[in-house]
């Protein structure tokens, strides 16, 4: 008789919820402010070991100006090289800030880092709710994903995997031992839509609930998760001299994030009315279709492969297991069968 092996993982005692990493992605800004207000009013009553939740407005200067960033994109400043590099007098604001955040929530890669970092984002693309993570084997992230899918049936919930090494991972959520970005769209930058704010509030609530259940000893059944792994980006066609875009996302692709794109499907419509088609040979899943902030990063859309990942049952470690673990910083990969 087969007995499901339960993977035991360390408690998540310290959690961070960050908003305003991009100062014009407003759901996270207002949600963090609201959660800070709520936290001031009530005291956390926990059963068992307390979990501390820190709320952070990551880029206060950009938030004040309601711009994505002041000098440079904060959410590209968390690679090991940037976090540990020297800072000159003329260093961009966001590089100074990423080192501050690393001191507060990290240091990245160390045993002292925050257990779980959740970073809140919005996109102009029609992506519903996405969790974006660097791993397709982080059982904590994948279990939270499954839980959100069950608890939030009214909104599409998906998991996007960027296959980038820990050292090269560049976003804020990579500072914690576990983490992901919660990306919700569509919402224009600089605008708050009630439905998007509410979805984000619920998503964060359910995530924190799951972490509390996990910490309290609940075991979570294994299962299968659908994961989208980023393969490549496609840029807009551009004028050779001016670099201005010469086409927009085709009306038949616009808003169709995660609808399979086949070779020869329309991709762009030029400003003179011509259709340009997808020239790839492999059907792939498009996402971040027409994300405003990506025009300057030369990305019109990103493309992913879909796969199914088997997730084991998990449960929090016992105190003895936890102590033994604190001898060395063990990665999830080592606990896999």
């Amino acid at each position: 008789m087969e007995v499901e092996e339960v993977v035991r993982l360390p408690r998540l005692s310290r959690v961070a919820v960050c908003g305003g990493t991009h100062g014009n992605e407003l759901s996270g800004v207002y949600l963090v402010r609201e959660l800070l207000k709520e936290q001031k009013k009530e005291e956390e009553e926990e059963e068992g070991e307390p979990m501390s939740v820190v709320m952070v407005l990551s880029n206060p200067r950009a938030t004040l100006q309601c711009h994505r960033y002041v000098d440079t994109d904060l959410n590209r400043c968390f690679t090991h090289a940037i976090l540990n590099g020297p800072l000159s007098d003329t260093a961009p604001y966001e590089m100074i800030r990423s080192q501050e955040l690393n001191a507060m929530l990290g240091p990245k890669g160390s045993p002292g880092a925050t257990d779980f970092v959740c970073d809140l984002h919005n996109t102009t693309a029609n992506m519903g709710l996405c969790l974006i993570a660097y791993s397709d084997r982080d059982w904590i992230c994948l279990h939270i994903f499954k839980y959100l899918q069950r608890q939030m049936p009214d909104i599409p919930v998906r998991y996007i995997h960027f296959d980038i090494s820990h050292k090269e991972s560049y976003s804020l959520d990579s500072v914690g031992k576990h983490g992901f970005a919660i990306e919700i769209g569509p919402q224009p930058h600089g605008v708050v839509r009630s439905n998007v704010y509410t979805a984000m509030k619920l998503g964060v609530q359910h995530m924190l609930d799951w972490i509390r259940f996990f910490n309290s000893g609940a075991s979570f059944e294994g299962g299968v998760a659908e994961v989208f792994t980023m393969v490549k980006h496609i840029d807009y066609p551009r004028d050779k001299e001016t670099r201005h875009i010469t086409a927009a996302i085709h009306p038949q692709l616009q808003d169709r994030d995660f609808c399979l794109l086949h070779p020869d499907d329309p991709l762009f419509q030029t400003f003179s009315g011509e259709t340009l088609r997808y020239k790839g040979t492999e059907p792939l899943y498009p996402f971040f279709i027409n994300e405003c902030a990506y025009y300057e990063k030369n990305i019109a859309l990103s493309l992913a492969r879909k796969k199914f990942v088997t997730i084991p049952a998990i449960q929090v470690q016992t105190d003895q297991e936890q102590q033994a673990n604190e001898q060395g910083f063990t990665s999830e990969e080592e606990e896999e069968e």
Partner: protein, 309 residues
């Protein structure tokens, strides 16, 4: 009402990028310049990227909103070293397309804008003008893909602050919803169709066609409502309610929800039944406008044709 004879129109200016992050107009103007569109029949066509610095930065404006710089007072104010970029630019545009109020001014100015509000296609006018009302009627009759509406602001010309008030006739083409800083193909196509129909109408009119009069429905701005704000920080404390969001031009009645606070409470509309528009326009947060409210009025427009000879 008798048929009215009006002078033919000989010049039109198509303007884009007045707000540098409202991109339909930017790309329409660039495409027209690429295609070297200089004439539409007997009508000379000028295309202008009105705020090129803001377009380069992909921002609404650099120092101040260009589309508030065209009052007669601001256009005649002396320029000093500390004059904001947009005030200088407004005076340059006034020299190019105006001067406002003079015989030399361009016959028709069309200024292209986008909004994050779900407004479909709107033509925004300062005052009753039979030329522009007929262009509106024509566009409305020919465009079936999106709702087409007229908004009237009812401001005297000298106080009119936006670019299109520089021409002898003028209107803004406002299309949404589109986030700032990006181009949607469907919105671009809507704007292009509206511009093409405008040029088509001008040619028809000049060639002697009579345009039948009739009734035109227009929305007249009555007042604006701000977001609820924190008295100390001035930050907004609520978002547009989900039942109002995207429901521009749907009659708002007393008791209807208008805001949902970040802690979940509903704020309701109290007072007159009015039509909301510019609901949740991104650029209006700083202008303290959550949405505008309008009355709907029916106007009678006479038949018109161009004077001969």
């Amino acid at each position: 009402m008798d048929r009215v004879s009006l002078s033919p129109l000989s010049s039109v200016a198509i303007c884009g990028g007045t707000h540098g992050n409202e991109l339909s107009g930017v790309y329409i103007v660039r495409e027209m310049q690429k295609q070297k569109v200089g004439k539409a029949g007997s009508v000379s066509v000028t295309t202008v990227l009105t705020n090129p610095l803001a377009v380069d930065a992909c921002r609404r404006y650099i120092e101040t909103d260009l589309n508030r710089c065209f009052t007669s007072a601001l256009l005649s104010a002396p320029i000093t070293d500390s004059t904001p970029f947009e005030l200088r630019r407004a005076q340059e545009l006034n020299a190019l397309l105006g001067p406002k109020g003079s015989q030399e001014a361009v016959d028709l100015v069309c200024d292209i804008h986008n909004t994050t509000a779900n407004m479909g296609l709107c033509l925004i006018f300062y005052s009753l003008d039979w030329i522009t009302m007929h262009i509106f009627k024509y566009i409305q009759s020919k465009m079936t893909s999106v709702p087409v509406r007229a908004i009237q602001l009812d401001t005297p010309v000298s106080e009119a602050y936006s670019l299109e008030s520089v021409g002898k006739h003028g209107f803004s083409i406002e299309v949404g919803p589109q986030p700032n800083g990006l181009v949607r193909a469907d919105i671009y196509n809507t704007v292009k169709e509206a511009v093409d129909l405008t040029l088509e109408w001008l040619q028809e009119f000049n060639s002697g066609t009579t345009f039948e009069g009739g009734e035109v429905e227009a929305y007249n701005l009555v007042k604006s409502i701000d977001y609820p704000r924190d008295p100390t920080t001035n930050e907004i404390t609520a978002a547009i309610h989900p039942e109002l969001q995207d429901n521009d031009f749907k009659l708002l009645q007393s008791g209807d929800p208008i805001f949902q606070s970040f802690s979940g409470e509903t704020v309701k509309h109290e007072g007159e039944e009015l039509y909301p528009f510019f609901v949740n326009e991104c650029a209006y947060y700083e202008k303290k406008i959550a949405f505008h409210l309008a009355q709907k009025n029916t106007l009678i427009v006479p038949s018109i044709s161009a004077k001969k000879g």
